[in-house]
Structures are given as structure tokens and as C-alpha cells.
């Protein structure tokens, strides 16, 4: 028979993975609402953010309950701490997805400034990083987590390219500045999501190795 704490840790893991999956879906739908100019979908993403907020609160409450009543130690303690720290990161990623949806609502009412190429690529990279980071969390795979951290550089490079391109558009065509600025924000949101996934991976390493690699040059 499983110990009570094992059952609760399993449930906590399931709750986190559900939040992770819902966040990943929010990001993909927000990007679709932009690339397919689907404002209805954008509104749905914003509406669904409330569900994600509730999931965050539920995990917060459950983590505190496990800490108080089960008094976990060693790996169990690191697991609860990791979940408690990953949860708000996922919620913030979902907030960024909401911000992308808000930008889509504005941009979809304007003529499309340019063909979206780099932004969907950045979004695909970010979503892939998030999915593999959550897989690495489940498998407690520190090696994979370190690999994912490296992938953030690809998103950073894309962001720089998009930034330069949009600044050029603003200079060349001042009437497009507002739309270009919104697209710049979208790119920034995606870049930030990459950073957040990095934070998740750092917590995966903590879970596995009890090592804090955040703010450390040698990861």
C-alpha cells in the first residue's frame, strides 16, 4: 500500500502537469489567434486564464498542506518545493500567452503588417521547450533540463532578429509603428517565456541533484 505522502505527491505532480499542459495549450492558441487572425480564439484564451489562476491557487494550497501535515524530507521536500516554485512560473507563462492574445485582438483589426514567419517559429520553440521541460520534470532528468536551458539561446537570437526587423519597419514606415510595436511586444513575451522555461529547468536540476544552479555561470 502506498504511503499517504506518496499518494499526495502523485496527486501534486498530476495537478502540476495539468497546469503545464493547459499553459502550453494557452500559448499555442494565443499564437494561432494571431497567425490565423482569429479574435474569437484570442478572447477565449483570455477567458480561460481564470481557470489557470484557479489551478495555481489549488496547487499552492495543496503544497502548503503537504508541507504542514506530511513534513516531507529529502527528495520529497525538494519535490514539493520544486512544484511550489514551478507553479507560479507556469501561471506567468500563461499570463504572457494572455498578453499575446490581447495583442492579437488589436493586430487582427489592422491590416497584416508582414507575413508572420519568425514569431510562429519562436512560439514553436518556446512551446517545445516548455513541453520537454515538463517531461524532464516528470522524469527528473537533469541532463535533459540542462540541454533545454541551452535552447533558450535560439529564442534569444530569434528575438534579436525580429527586434531589428521591426525597428527597421518603424523607421521606414512610421504609419506602421503601432502595429510593429505590438508585434515587438509579442516577440518580447515569447522571449520571456523562454527565460521562464529556463527557470523551470533549473528547478528540475534542483529536484534531481539538490543543487541551486540559478544565477550560476557553470550550470
Amino acid at each position: 500500500m502506498d504511503r499517504i505522502i506518496d499518494q499526495q505527491l502523485d496527486l501534486l505532480r498530476d495537478k502540476l502537469l495539468l497546469l503545464g499542459g493547459t499553459t502550453e495549450a494557452a500559448l499555442q492558441r494565443a499564437m494561432r489567434s494571431l497567425t490565423e487572425r482569429d479574435s474569437k480564439l484570442a478572447k477565449q484564451v483570455l477567458e480561460d486564464d481564470k481557470i489557470i489562476d484557479q489551478m495555481e491557487l489549488d496547487i499552492d494550497r495543496f503544497s502548503v498542506e503537504i508541507l504542514a501535515l506530511q513534513q516531507p524530507a529529502a527528495h520529497d521536500l525538494r519535490f514539493v518545493i520544486s512544484v511550489a516554485k514551478i507553479t507560479p512560473i507556469l501561471e506567468r507563462i500563461a499570463d504572457h500567452a494572455g498578453s499575446i492574445a490581447k495583442a492579437a485582438l488589436v493586430l487582427n483589426d489592422e491590416p497584416q503588417l508582414k507575413k508572420y514567419v519568425d514569431l510562429p517559429m519562436m512560439a514553436d520553440n518556446a512551446a517545445e521547450m516548455l513541453r520537454t521541460a515538463l517531461d524532464a520534470f516528470t522524469a527528473e532528468d537533469a541532463t535533459a533540463s540542462r540541454r533545454i536551458i541551452e535552447q533558450d539561446k535560439v529564442i534569444d537570437k530569434s528575438y534579436k532578429r525580429v527586434f531589428d526587423e521591426l525597428i527597421t519597419i518603424m523607421i521606414d514606415n512610421p504609419s506602421a509603428t503601432a502595429s510593429a510595436a505590438h508585434l515587438l511586444f509579442v516577440a518580447k513575451h515569447l522571449e520571456r517565456i523562454g527565460d521562464y522555461v529556463k527557470d523551470i529547468c533549473e528547478l528540475n536540476v534542483y529536484l534531481r541533484e539538490a543543487a541551486f544552479i540559478k544565477h550560476s555561470k557553470i550550470q
Binding site: R3, I5, A73
Partner: protein, 251 residues
């Protein structure tokens, strides 16, 4: 130099070996907690540190226990003076059927440590103060120690141990029979006493080990499985056995 240095210690009850090849250094003014399942040898080991096991006829010790560099198992060791230096507090408080004052004064008197009556009073008061009991008993020093609560009786026993000016205090589950408030007082006292004494504490209460000790040693089947800083033992122990024990996965 370590305050206590144990090397290759084996301990036998008749033919049964209770401790296997234990080596452990304890620096001065450290609180070290011994944890492990019942029968793992942690209390037996604690008692080897002031030769309390000598009273068991079939007991036999091999190896070395150095305190301040001197092997306490050498034939010429003065065991009474060893136990003055290495005091002990037991699981169940065991005050003498005497007054509060006499309980603390007893060890000072029989060891002839005090100069005169005034000095004795000072020593008793200081011991009670250091055991965080003085304020609660100063108006009834001559009443029976049995009138104290369980937690107070335990602190009285700590005062009794302190009165003879030990350097090491061994505590065998000192709070296991106490309620949470009395337990908290004992734990606060341990943290306070650490400034002056080296403290070895055996406990079944893992959270207590986590709260009061600098290092934790985990014993199993008479062997020292792991000793590490307490923070490490409870967040990331080196040994799988320790991990299983501190997380309660022990089958």
C-alpha cells in the same frame, strides 16, 4: 583536536555485537543528533561515551573513545570523574526524592566542588539559571522536586548535570515524554547550552534532530550509515538508506 574522537568502536552484549566498527569525531560545542530505528544502537553508542554500559556485566568494548585526546577505556580512567565531565540526561526525568535545591546541590556536594555554603548556593542558582528553570523555582527551592511538571523535572535533571560543570552532555531522548511546549523549552535550552557544551542527543523525533542539531548521524543495525550536516541529511542525504529513513519509506 576533536572533543570526542571515536575510532573502530565495536560493542558486544555477551556474544551479540551491538555496534560495528564505529568511527566518529565530534568537535567542541557541536550539537550532534543520533537518529535511527529502534534497536539500531544509537543509545548504546551514546552510553559508550561516558562508560554507562560498564554496569552491564556481559558488555564488552573494542576500539577507542578519546575525550580531549585521552582514551576513556584505559584501565586507569577515573570513571566517576569521566561522568562528571560527560554528564547525562535520560529519557525519563529522574529527580531524587529531595528538594529542588538538594537535587542540584547533590553532585556538587559529593564531588566537593564548592568552597563553602555561599559558593554552593551560587553554583545551584547558576545551574538552574542555565537550565532555564530558575525563574520558575526560585521561590520554592526547598519544596519537593516531585512537585514540578514533567518538563520542569527534565530541566531540573539538566540543571543537576550542569551543576558539576561538565564539558559534554549526553541526552537520551530528553523530550520524548514531554508535551510540545515543554519539548520546545528543552530544544531552546539545547541551542542555548551549545554555546558552552558539546551536546550529543539521541532522538526519535526527526524534526527535533532537524531543529536543534548541527550534524546528524544515522545508525542502522549497529552501524553508522551516514553523518553529515543536518541541513544536508534532511534535504539531500548521501546514502539511500538515510533518504529512506528521513522520508519515512523504511520498510
Amino acid at each position: 583536536m576533536s572533543k570526542i574522537s571515536v575510532s573502530n568502536l565495536n560493542f558486544f552484549y555477551g556474544k551479540a555485537q551491538a555496534l560495528h566498527d564505529i568511527s566518529l569525531d565530534i568537535p567542541e560545542r557541536e550539537v550532534i543528533a543520533f537518529v535511527g530505528p529502534s534497536g539500531c544502537g544509537k543509545s548504546t553508542f551514546l552510553r559508550t561515551l561516558n562508560r554507562m554500559n560498564d554496569t552491564i556485566p556481559s558488555a564488552r568494548v573494542e576500539g577507542q573513545v578519546l575525550i580531549d585526546g585521552k582514551n576513556i577505556y584505559e584501565a586507569n580512567t577515573d570513571v566517576a570523574s569521566l561522568r562528571r565531565k560527560v554528564g547525562m540526561v535520560f529519557q525519563k526525568s529522574n529527580p531524587f526524592p529531595k528538594s529542588i535545591f538538594e537535587n542540584v546541590a547533590y553532585g556538587v556536594r559529593i564531588n566537593g566542588i564548592h568552597k563553602d555554603k555561599a559558593d554552593l548556593n551560587v553554583r545551584v542558582e547558576k545551574a538552574l539559571h542555565d537550565a532555564a528553570l530558575l525563574d520558575e523555582v526560585k521561590d520554592r527551592m526547598n519544596t519537593s522536586a516531585f512537585g514540578l511538571s514533567g518538563g520542569q523535572q527534565q530541566r531540573l535533571c539538566i540543571a543537576r548535570a550542569l551543576a558539576v560543570q561538565p564539558e559534554v552532555i549526553l541526552m537520551d531522548e530528553p523530550a520524548s515524554a514531554l508535551d510540545p511546549i515543554a519539548t520546545q523549552k528543552i530544544e531552546e535550552l539545547v541551542v542555548e547550552l551549545k554555546k558552552q557544551y558539546t551536546i550529543v542527543i539521541v532522538t526519535h523525533n526527526m524534526q527535533q534532530a532537524a531543529r536543534v542539531s548541527d550534524r546528524t548521524a544515522f545508525f542502522m543495525l549497529g552501524k553508522l550509515v551516514e553523518v553529515n550536516p543536518t541541513q544536508k541529511m534532511f534535504t539531500n542525504p548521501d546514502e539511500k538508506l538515510t533518504e529512506d529513513y528521513v522520508t519515512g519509506r523504511f520498510g
